[in-house]
Homo-oligomer: 215 residues x 2
């Protein structure tokens, strides 16, 4: 019975995600759904990505948070159109929240839409929003056991960004294990090792994204 | 309508949490519900706590994870009774899962039960399990904006452990802001700054816990 309720919710979400998908195709917008644990560096990656690609494509952002506008404020100062969704307690964005957020953006003036999900490795992976690509961040202080413990998000992502590599000398992070276990879950995963703090390694990620946006 | 469904689920959870609470009182067990983001150091804190207090009280552990027994395996090697709950996709433990987990422990042989929740700053805070104290970890790499972004978990916790202080020289973590914003949400919060890696600062936490277990 409980499973049935959950299934109905996910079915309803899928229908709206499909409608989002069609709209994004029609408007020729590449949409990425950015997910990670709290504090892994989602907003820092968005800031870096905007700075790198803003002269080459038109970017918009949807920020998902339980409450407040801290992240949207960080994006707004860059002069980029941004919509803040406050989920009011919900631990993830769903397709309908994104649908409503789209009304705050001029979709005809965008090539790339970055959706920053709520900080959580579990439920955001369960609710499709209709994005072209799921992108996840694993930060080195979280440890290399995360693919084993939270497999779904690794399975459904196109990209895993290993962030905070500047901290590697101070951690026991098993980099090879993290890569190997993530690839065992999803052999198509594109992996970039970066530091959003120093900028190291980000060019590979920028190249991956730009190639898809300007297709 | 949606709100009603959630409320019913939480009401049902509360009833089971109250029953757990009564059972813990009857058995004179101090129960702590340990919560944090993925990779903030929950299992490391449990290991350290067991090593420090195992000669002074009888400890049992319930490990909550989406899947696998990695964390329970880490506890079992210490010779401590441990039950692994696999939530099968659910992003939090609820009172009923804990209730079922209790059947795997001899409650008459325990003074302290540590329940390690699923790694998530959101939903574990919404589902009472009947513990005596909620204990949360904020790790320094996550950043000082977490009280503003995930307020509920700070409001309902008795203790905030700031972990990974050994990394402070390599981070921009605003320690005073984290403390101030957490205390603004909950002025009764007990704060301990520690490194589960080096052991620094843990004595204060051990003292706080032991005092309550042996009451």
């Amino acid at each position: 019975m409980k499973i049935q309720v959950v299934k109905n919710i996910l079915d309803a979400n899928d229908r709206i995600a499909d409608a989002n998908r069609s709209l994004f195709d029609e408007k020729k917008i590449f949409v990425m759904n950015l997910m990670s644990s709290p504090g892994a560096g989602k907003t820092s990656l968005v800031e870096r990505t905007i700075r790198a690609l803003r002269d080459r494509c038109r970017i918009g952002v949807i920020e998902g948070d339980i409450q407040n506008t801290l992240d949207a404020d960080r994006i707004a100062v860059l002069g980029i159109p941004v919509v803040q969704i406050n989920t009011g307690g919900s631990c993830h964005l769903d397709a309908n929240m994104v649908r409503e957020g789209l009304s705050g953006l001029n979709l005809d003036a965008l090539d790339l839409l970055i959706v920053e999900n709520v900080g959580n490795l579990v439920c955001p992976a369960e609710f499709r929003i209709g994005a072209d690509a799921n992108v996840m961040i694993l930060s080195t202080p979280e440890g290399a056991d995360k693919p084993s413990k939270y497999p779904l998000i690794f399975k459904i992502s196109s990209v895993m960004i290993i962030n905070k590599i500047d901290l590697l000398p101070h951690l026991d992070f098993e980099r090879d294990k993290a890569r190997r276990d993530a690839l065992a879950l999803n052999r198509d995963l594109n992996i970039f090792e970066v530091s959003c703090r120093t900028g190291e390694g980000l060019d590979g990620w920028f190249g991956w994204l730009e190639e898809r946006v300007t297709q």
